[in-house]
C-alpha cells in the first residue's frame, strides 16, 4: 500500500532524488534518524519514464537541509538560470526570474497547486519556509507528468515545492538567534498513524533588520544602518495525507517596514516610514486515483484569502502621499485531470481548470475586480523504446468584470502549444523542446488607479531549448550494489547542459506617458535571450562519510530588440541580467556532523543603459553552515551555526538597496 501510493503521487519528484536516495540506502539503520531518508528507499525502484525530457533542477532532502537558507528564495539562487531580486533584509521582497523571462512568468506550485496573486502576479518567496519541504524543483517550461492540471502548463518556468510526508511520529522545536536582533522559534509535529500522515509546522520570527551598510566610492562615502527594515511574522501550516489524498492549510501573518533606497540626505531626519501588513491564508486539497490500471484521475481544489495593508499615514512621512490602503483578494480554484494509457508507452491526458478571483481595495477610483480564468489542456506523452516525446496544447480564457474607471478589459482567448522530444542512449539523454506561453496582465496592470491600462495585451514568450543529460552511478554496474558499495564507496554523478533561446514580445512595463507627467502600464519592447545552463552534481558515500558537490553555471546574453533605430538600446544587454553566474555548494558529512560551504558568483550587470558606469558590481558570496545532531535513543539535540556572506562583501540586487553583509545564525533544536 505504502509503496503503491508513493509511486502514484510522488513519482516525478521522487525520480529526481535518486542520487540523494543513494546516500540514504547506505546509512545504517541506527544512523537514520530522519524520516526523509526512508522515503527515498522506496523511490529507487520507481522509474519515471519522462524523467529527463524536461529541463529541471532539484534540491531535495539532505542537500536542501544542508544549505544555509531561511526561505525558498535562498535555495533557488543555487539553480542555474535563476536571477533573484531581493530588496535586502529578512523583510525585503524576494522574487525570482528564470532565464530572464521576468518574475511574473514563474509559476510557483505547492504540491502541484499554483500559488497565485491575481493582483500583482508575483509570489514573495520569502513567505515560504523550507522546513516542511521535501524538495524544491525548478522546471524550465513545465514539468511533464502523466496527469497534470492545466495550470501546471501555464507558465514559462515553474517552481515546485513538494511538502514532506512524514513516515513516523516526531516533535521538534527550534530556537534561533541571528544578527541584527533576529529571533526565531519553530515547532514541528508530525505523525503517521494507520495510513494517515500529517504535520503541523509553526514559526514565529522577529527581526529589527538594522544592518549596517556602506557606500564607498570616489565621490561618496555613505555609512549607515538600515532603518524601517524590521519584520515580524508568524506562520502556521499543516498538511494531511492518505493514499492519493493530500491537503495543505497555511496561514501567514506579518508586519514589516518598507525601507527605501539609500539616497543622498543631509541627515537621518527623513527616512521611509511606510509599513506593510500581510495576512495570507490558503487551504488546498488534491485527490488522485487510478482505475482499471490505465485510467488516472486527479482533482485539485484551493481557496486563498489574502489581505495586504500599506500605510504611509504617519506624521514623519514628508515625502509621499499619506495613504492607508487595504487590499483583499480571494481566489477559488478547482481542477480536474484525467489521463488514459492505452498502451504502456503512451499516455493521453486532459485537464480543465477554473479559477475565480476577486480583488477589493479602498483605493480612490477603484472598484472590485472579478476575474474568471479557465484553462483547458490536451496533452500526449510517449515513451517508446528510447524515444520520449510530449506535446500539449493549452487553451486559456480570461474574463474580467469591474466598474473601475475604464471598465473591464476585453476577454482573452488563446491557444498555445508546447513540444518536447528526447532520445536516451544508455545513460545519456538528448532533448529538445519548444514552448509558447503568455502571461496575462495582472489586475494591477489593468486596473490600478492612475497606472492601469485596460488595453494591455498579454506578454508573449517563446522558448527553444536543446540539452543533454547524463547520469552515472557505480551501483548500476553491479547486481549486488549494496554489498559492493559497502566495500568501495558509492559514487554518483549527474550532469546536464542546456542551450536556450527566449523571445519576449509585448513586454508589460510601466512607462511615463509621452508629453504628460503620468505613468501608465504599456506593452513595450521585445527582448531576445540566448543562454547556456549547466549543472553538475556529484555524490560520494563511504562508511560514515558522505560528500556532495553541486555546481550550477549560467551564461546568457539577454538583449533588447525593440527598436533597430535606437542605437543606444538595440542589441544592448537588458538591465539586471548578468552574463555569467555560478554557484558551488560542497557538503561534507560525517555521521551526524555536517559542514556546508556555498559559493555564489554573480557577474556584472547594468541597471541603466544611460551610462556605462551604471552597473551593479559583480559579487562573490560565501555562506557556511556547520551542524551537529546528537542522538540519545529517540531524542535528538542539534546545534547549528551559520555564517552568511563570510567575506562581508556588500552587494546589491537593486541599486541603492544594500544587502546585509556578514551575519550569523545560531540554531538550537530539540526533537523527540
Amino acid at each position: 500500500m505504502k509503496k503503491y501510493y508513493l509511486q502514484a503521487i510522488l513519482a516525478t519528484v521522487l525520480a529526481f532524488v535518486g542520487t540523494a536516495s543513494a546516500n540514504a540506502q547506505n546509512l545504517n539503520d541506527e544512523d537514520r534518524p530522519d524520516s526523509i531518508q526512508e522515503l527515498h528507499e522506496v523511490t529507487v525502484t520507481s522509474k519515471q519514464p519522462l524523467r529527463t525530457i524536461a529541463t529541471s533542477q532539484t534540491l531535495s532532502g539532505a542537500d536542501l537541509q544542508a544549505l544555509s537558507t531561511t526561505s525558498v528564495a535562498d535555495a533557488l539562487k543555487y539553480f542555474s538560470g535563476v536571477q533573484i531580486k531581493d530588496y535586502g533584509g529578512l523583510g525585503g521582497l524576494k522574487t525570482i526570474n528564470v532565464r530572464s523571462l521576468g518574475a511574473q512568468h514563474v509559476g510557483v506550485y505547492i504540491d502541484g497547486i499554483r500559488i497565485t496573486n491575481a493582483q500583482n502576479g508575483t509570489v514573495d518567496l520569502g513567505k515560504f519556509s523550507l522546513s516542511s519541504m521535501e524538495s524544491v524543483s525548478l522546471y524550465n517550461a513545465n514539468k511533464l507528468d502523466y496527469c497534470q492540471s492545466a495550470s501546471e502548463y501555464a507558465s514559462g518556468a515553474t517552481v515546485y515545492l513538494q511538502t514532506r510526508r512524514p513516515t513516523s511520529d516526531s516533535l521538534s522545536v527550534q530556537l534561533r538567534n541571528g544578527s541584527f536582533h533576529t529571533w526565531m522559534a519553530k515547532l514541528n509535529g508530525q505523525f503517521n498513524w494507520r495510513g494517515w500522515q500529517g504535520f503541523i509546522d509553526g514559526e514565529y520570527c522577529t527581526s529589527r533588520g538594522d544592518y549596517p551598510f556602506r557606500y564607498h566610492s570616489e565621490y561618496e562615502d555613505t555609512v549607515g544602518r538600515r532603518t524601517n527594515s524590521d519584520i515580524r511574522y508568524g506562520r502556521i501550516e499543516g498538511a494531511l495525507f492518505r493514499g492519493g489524498f493530500s491537503s495543505h492549510i497555511y496561514y501567514y501573518d506579518s508586519e514589516r517596514g518598507c525601507p527605501g533606497g539609500i539616497v543622498r540626505r543631509l541627515s537621518d531626519k527623513y527616512t521611509n516610514v511606510g509599513r506593510e501588513w500581510d495576512r495570507d491564508f490558503f487551504v488546498q486539497a488534491s485527490y488522485q486515483e487510478r482505475f482499471f490500471r490505465r485510467l488516472l484521475f486527479k482533482a485539485n481544489t484551493k481557496y486563498t484569502n489574502e489581505y495586504l495593508r500599506y500605510c504611509t499615514k504617519y506624521p514623519e512621512n514628508q515625502n509621499t502621499a499619506r495613504v492607508d490602503n487595504h487590499y483583499r483578494q480571494q481566489d477559488v480554484y478547482g481542477a480536474l485531470c484525467a489521463a488514459y494509457q492505452p498502451w504502456s508507452w503512451l499516455s493521453l491526458s486532459s485537464s480543465y481548470d477554473a479559477r475565480y478571483s476577486i480583488l477589493r481595495a479602498d483605493l480612490k477610483r477603484f472598484d472590485d475586480v472579478k476575474r474568471v480564468d479557465q484553462k483547458l489542456v490536451f496533452a500526449a506523452q510517449m515513451n517508446w523504446h528510447d524515444i520520449q516525446a510530449a506535446v500539449s496544447a493549452l487553451h486559456q480564457r480570461y474574463s474580467d468584470w469591474t466598474f473601475a474607471h475604464a471598465g473591464a478589459a476585453d476577454p482573452l482567448d488563446r491557444w498555445t502549444p508546447a513540444f518536447s522530444l528526447a532520445y536516451t542512449l544508455h545513460d545519456v539523454t538528448l532533448r529538445g523542446w519548444y514552448k509558447e506561453i503568455f502571461r496575462v496582465p495582472t489586475l494591477n496592470d489593468l486596473y490600478y488607479t492612475q497606472v492601469g491600462n485596460r488595453n494591455l495585451k498579454p506578454e508573449n514568450t517563446k522558448q527553444w531549448n536543446v540539452g543533454v543529460e547524463y547520469h552515472w552511478d557505480n551501483r548500476q554496474r553491479t547486481t549486488d550494489n549494496r554489498q559492493r558499495s559497502m566495500v568501495n564507496g558509492q559514487w554518483s554523478m549527474d550532469f546536464q547542459v542546456d542551450a536556450y533561446i527566449n523571445k519576449i514580445e509585448n513586454r508589460i512595463v510601466c512607462l511615463p506617458l509621452k508629453g504628460t507627467y503620468t505613468w501608465s502600464m504599456m506593452n513595450y519592447g521585445y527582448t531576445y535571450c540566448r543562454g547556456l545552463n549547466a549543472t553538475i552534481k556529484g555524490h560520494y558515500t563511504r562508511g560514515p562519510w558522505n560528500f556532495s558537490l553541486l555546481n550550477s553555471i549560467t551564461w546568457q546574453r539577454d538583449v533588447d530588440r525593440t527598436d533597430p533605430e535606437d542605437e543606444d538600446m538595440y542589441d544592448k544587454p537588458i538591465c539586471y541580467s548578468p552574463t555569467f553566474s555560478t554557484g558551488v555548494t560542497a557538503i561534507m558529512g560525517w555521521r551526524s556532523l555536517q559542514f556546508t560551504t556555498s559559493y555564489l558568483y554573480v557577474g556584472e550587470r547594468m541597471w541603466s543603459k544611460a551610462d556605462p558606469e551604471d552597473i551593479l558590481e559583480p559579487y562573490h558570496n560565501i555562506d557556511m553552515k556547520l551542524s551537529y545532531t546528537h542522538h540519545i535513543k529517540k531524542t535528538s539535540l542539534g546545534l547549528c551555526l551559520e555564517v552568511c556572506d563570510v567575506l562581508d562583501i556588500q552587494y546589491e540586487h537593486l541599486p541603492r538597496y544594500p544587502m546585509p553583509g556578514r551575519n550569523y545564525k545560531l540554531t538550537l533544536s530539540f526533537g523527540i
Binding site: 543622498r264 540626505r265 543631509l266 514628508q318 509621452k514 504628460t516
Partner: protein, 429 residues
C-alpha cells in the same frame, strides 16, 4: 619666429573662443530612489559633462533634482526633491551650501536675496523652530545664512511658483488627490513675499495646476493635466498684474502646456499631451502663445498651434518629451527627450528660428534648465543689495528674475525685453 607667430594666433583664437555664448545647466532627474540625479553642463554645442556636479565637488547631487534657478550672479539654487535638499552652487558648479529644512521641495523662485520654495511636505525647520502644516507650504530662505526665515501655508501640493512685483504666485495642484483624502486643488495662491502671508487666493475652476510654470513679465503660463479621467487637460494664461486687483485674471485654453517656456519676445512655447486613463489615448499638442493677446481677446486669438521652424515636428517625433527652454540671453531653444525609461535622454538644440542644430546624449530624465549669462553679461551690474532695496523701480527679466539694483544702474542689453512695474520695455540701443 614662426613659433611666436603661431602662439600669438593661438592666443588670439583662444581669447575669442573662450567667450562662451551658450551655457546651459541641465538637470537630469535620474531614476527615483536610485540616487542618480545628475547635472549636464552644455557649452556652445558641446556637452562638457554629464556629471558636472560630481566633477566639481566630488559629491553626488542626490535623488530627483526638480528645479534650478539663478539667484544672483554668484549663486544658483537646485531643488533636489527626493533628497529633501535645496542645494546652492556657484555658476561654475561649486557647492556652496545645502539645507534639508524644506522636505519634499518642488519649485523655486528668487528675488536675489531670498529663495522661495514650494513644498508638498508638512513641516519646515525655520529660524523660529519647526513649523507644521496640514497642507503644503512655501518657505523663504535667506541666502545670507541659508536658513528659512518665514513660511506660508498654501493649498495641497503646491507646485509652480513665480515672483511678480513683490508677490509670489503659487499654483496649487493637490497632486496626491489620487491617493489622499482631499480633492485636486483649483487655486493660485498669491502671497506677499515680504510678509509671507496669503494676500489672496484665485479660484480658477481648473483642477491640478501641475507642471512647468513659465513667466513672461506679468503673465504666467500654467498647465493642468486634468484629473486623467473625466476632466481633460488644459492650460491657463494668468495675468499677475490683474490678479492683484481682480479675480478675472486668467484665460483657460483647451490645450495642455505640460512643458512650457518663455521666448525672448515674451511669448510662451508649450508642448503637452492630453491623456485619459479611460480611453488610454493621448493627443499631442504644440503651441505658441501670445499672452497679452490671449488676455485681451479672452482666448479668441493669440494661440497658434505652431512652433518656430522644425520645433513642433521634432517634439512630436521624440519618444518622451521632457522639457523645453529658451535661453533668455540668446534666444536659442532647447528641448529634451527622456527616451526609454532605462536609457539616456537627449538634449536638442535649435536656433532662435527653430532650426535643429544638434542632438546630444545626456542622462536619465533630463528636464530642467538654466542658462548662464553669456560671458560678460553681468558686467557693470552692481553687487547684491545691502538690504535697503525695495520693489519699487526694480527691473525684471522675462523669467521674472530681478535685474539687480535700481533701473539707473542696469546695463541694458540690446534686443532684450525687460519688465518694469508690470510694463515691458524693449531695448533698442
Amino acid at each position: 619666429m614662426s613659433k611666436k607667430h603661431l602662439l600669438t594666433v593661438v592666443c588670439c583664437l583662444l581669447s575669442v573662443v573662450t567667450l562662451a555664448q551658450e551655457r546651459i545647466i541641465l538637470l537630469n532627474e535620474g531614476m527615483w530612489q536610485a540616487d542618480n540625479g545628475r547635472i549636464t553642463y552644455f557649452e556652445d554645442g558641446t556637452v562638457v559633462s554629464n556629471q558636472w556636479f560630481r566633477d566639481k565637488n566630488g559629491l553626488k547631487l542626490g535623488d530627483t533634482p526638480n528645479d534650478i534657478i539663478q539667484i544672483n550672479e554668484n549663486l544658483i539654487a537646485i531643488a533636489i526633491n527626493w533628497s529633501n535638499v535645496v542645494q546652492f552652487i556657484t555658476p561654475d558648479g561649486k557647492a556652496v551650501a545645502a539645507t534639508e529644512d524644506i522636505p519634499n521641495n518642488r519649485k523655486l523662485c528668487s528675488d536675489g536675496k531670498f529663495v522661495y520654495v514650494t513644498s508638498y511636505g508638512h513641516e519646515c525647520e525655520t529660524i523660529d523652530g519647526t513649523v507644521y502644516f496640514d497642507k503644503g507650504f512655501v518657505a523663504k530662505i535667506d541666502i545670507s545664512n541659508f536658513k528659512v526665515t518665514a513660511t506660508c501655508e498654501v493649498g495641497y501640493e503646491p507646485e509652480g511658483i513665480a515672483l511678480y512685483n513683490g508677490y509670489l504666485f503659487v499654483a496649487n495642484t493637490g497632486g496626491y488627490a489620487g491617493q489622499e483624502d482631499h480633492e485636486y486643488e483649483t487655486t493660485v495662491s498669491i502671497i506677499n513675499a515680504n510678509s509671507m502671508e496669503v494676500e489672496k487666493t484665485i479660484e480658477t475652476g481648473v483642477p491640478n495646476l501641475y507642471g512647468e510654470m513659465s513667466q513672461s513679465g506679468r503673465y504666467l503660463c500654467i498647465n493642468s493635466p486634468g484629473d486623467y479621467y473625466e476632466t481633460p487637460a488644459c492650460g491657463l494664461v494668468f495675468d499677475c498684474e490683474k490678479a492683484l486687483t481682480s479675480n478675472d485674471c486668467f484665460v483657460k485654453f483647451d490645450y495642455p502646456a505640460t512643458y512650457n517656456t518663455t521666448t525672448l519676445d515674451g511669448k510662451f512655447l508649450a508642448v503637452g499631451s492630453n491623456f485619459s486613463y479611460i480611453t488610454g489615448e493621448y493627443e499631442f499638442s504644440r503651441l505658441t502663445i501670445e499672452p497679452w493677446t490671449v488676455m485681451k481677446t479672452r482666448g479668441q486669438s493669440g494661440l497658434e498651434q505652431t512652433m518656430p521652424g522644425t520645433l513642433g515636428s521634432d517634439f512630436a517625433n521624440m519618444e518622451q518629451p521632457y522639457g523645453i527652454y529658451v535661453n533668455p540671453y540668446t534666444g536659442y531653444i532647447y528641448g529634451t527627450d527622456a527616451g526609454s525609461f532605462e536609457g539616456a535622454g537627449y538634449l536638442y538644440q535649435w536656433s532662435p528660428e527653430g532650426q535643429l542644430l544638434g542632438k546630444h546624449r545626456v542622462y536619465i530624465n533630463p528636464g530642467h534648465f538654466l542658462a548662464l549669462p553669456t560671458e560678460g553679461y553681468f558686467d557693470g551690474i552692481g553687487g547684491i543689495d545691502n538690504g535697503q532695496w525695495t520693489m519699487d523701480n526694480c527691473v525684471f527679466d522675462l523669467q521674472g528674475r530681478k535685474i539687480n539694483g535700481p533701473a539707473s544702474n542696469v546695463q541694458w542689453k540690446k534686443g532684450t525685453i525687460y519688465i518694469k512695474e508690470g510694463k515691458k520695455y524693449y531695448i533698442t540701443k
